[in-house]
Every structure is written in C-alpha cells, then in structure tokens.
Point group: C2
Chain length 119, copies 2
DNA sequence: CGGCATCCAAATGGATACTG
DNA sequence: CAGTATCCATTTGGATGCCG
C-alpha cells in the first residue's frame, strides 16, 4: 500500500542507469558484435576519448553488464565482452533502435507537413 | 557501404535522447496513467522542481511525445497528455522496467555470493 | 496556476601529458 | 597497449523570486 500510485515510476531507473551516459549504448552496440580489445573499442567509437571509454567501461563492469579480461603479456592486452546480463540487453536496445528509426521518420513527415501549413 | 560496420551504433541515439534526462521517464510513467495538469505532474514526481519539469516537458513536446493543451481560464489550466508516439513508448519502457527489476535481483545475488567467497 | 529569469552548485565531458 | 592524472569547459540540475 503505497500512498502514491506513481511511486513505482522510480523503479525504471535501475534499468536506465545502465544505458545513460553519452557512450554506453555505443559501447554495447560494438560489443554485441563480439569480444573487443580496448583499442578496438576506441577505434570503433568515433570521437570517444580514453577517459570516457574507461569510465563507461568501468560503470558497465560494475553492473555486471560486461566482463574485463587482462592478459599479462607485453604489450598488455585487455579484452572486453558482454556478460549474460549484457547480452540480455540486446533485444531491448534493438527495440529502441527500431522505435528511434520510425520516430525519426515520423518527426520528419510531421515537420514538413507543418512547414507546408504555415499561413 | 559504410567504411565502419559500427557506424550504425549511433542510430540508437534518437530513441535514447527521448528518454535521457533525470526526469523524462518519470514524466512518461505518470502520463501513461492519463492526462495530467502541470501541478499534478509536479505533485506526482517527488523532488522535481518547476524548472526541470518545464524543461523536460518542452523537450518531450518538441519531439512530439507529449501534447500540451492550454485552457484560457482564470486561473490558467494546462493539460499534458501522451501523443500516439508517446504511447508507443510504453511497451519499451515496460520492457526496460522488467529488465531492471530482474537485473537488480541478479546483482544482489551475485554480490552476496561474492561477499561469501571473500578469502 | 503555470511559467520565465537569474544566479549558483554539481556533475559530466574533454584535451593533454605521463606511466608501467 | 592500456591505462592514470591533471586541469579545464560544458552541461545539467536546483533555489529563489517575479509575473500574467
């Protein structure tokens, strides 16, 4: 019995925290394609800096979305891959991706029709 | 033919922009329950300030996720409701909500089992 | 009641240089 | 190669007061 029927609204946050941040989804999208090294991630995400990449990788690792494996070689090699939990995010991301594409078109149509109606 | 197979990763962003921001999902969750006045939204989202509520409502309005209707009465009355596009987000939010709940439990189990294994 | 303006604090993002 | 550390810019969030 909660006093406020919308209290549950906050309950979506744990899921969103996983995806929030400027680069989280890009990282996940790259890792959906398989295990990647640090430098591969950096190459495949145009514009990301090492600092941002590391910090987002750490976040995702702490939430058990991705796994980090260090090979004690010289030069060092570190592999990142999705955990089971991370893989379970793929359908959701895919759904959002589809929605986003449709919505983009929708907005474009709507805005051009609005422009045509301007007095 | 894109040079980089991960270029499409960026394509998820339009969808995420809609949800990003500290309060967007809370607003949507309240509006899933039906049309609400400005003051009702403010009451039902504990901790939000007028400034944040307005700015997020404007964002959502600009993306045609919600609709704003002004009644020229005294005192003024403004109603916010979901557009069709906004309603189409409900299954996605619901999915994320479910995922978030499961993931929360998963993390809890994992962390307690890790604590038990400590040396 | 709904909303804008101002001012301020905190979080986030980024450039650069350095290290094992 | 895979990070750290430092410093700085931008963005975001928030408190408060005023207005039609």
């Amino acid at each position: 019995m909660t006093a406020n029927p919308y209290d549950e609204a906050c309950a979506v946050d744990p899921a969103l925290d996983v995806l929030f941040g400027k680069w989280k989804t890009s990282i996940l999208y790259v890792l959906f394609h398989g295990t990647k090294r640090f430098s591969e991630l950096q190459r495949n995400i145009p514009g990301i800096t090492k600092k941002m990449l590391i910090s987002h990788l750490r976040d995702l690792e702490n939430q058990d979305i991705i796994q980090r494996v260090v090979y004690p070689s010289v030069p060092p090699r570190v592999d990142y891959s999705l955990t089971e939990a991370g893989q379970s995010l793929e359908p959701i991301l895919e759904l959002m991706h589809q929605w986003g594409k449709k919505h983009e078109e929708h907005l474009k149509r709507k805005r051009s029709s609005e422009a045509a109606t301007l007095s």
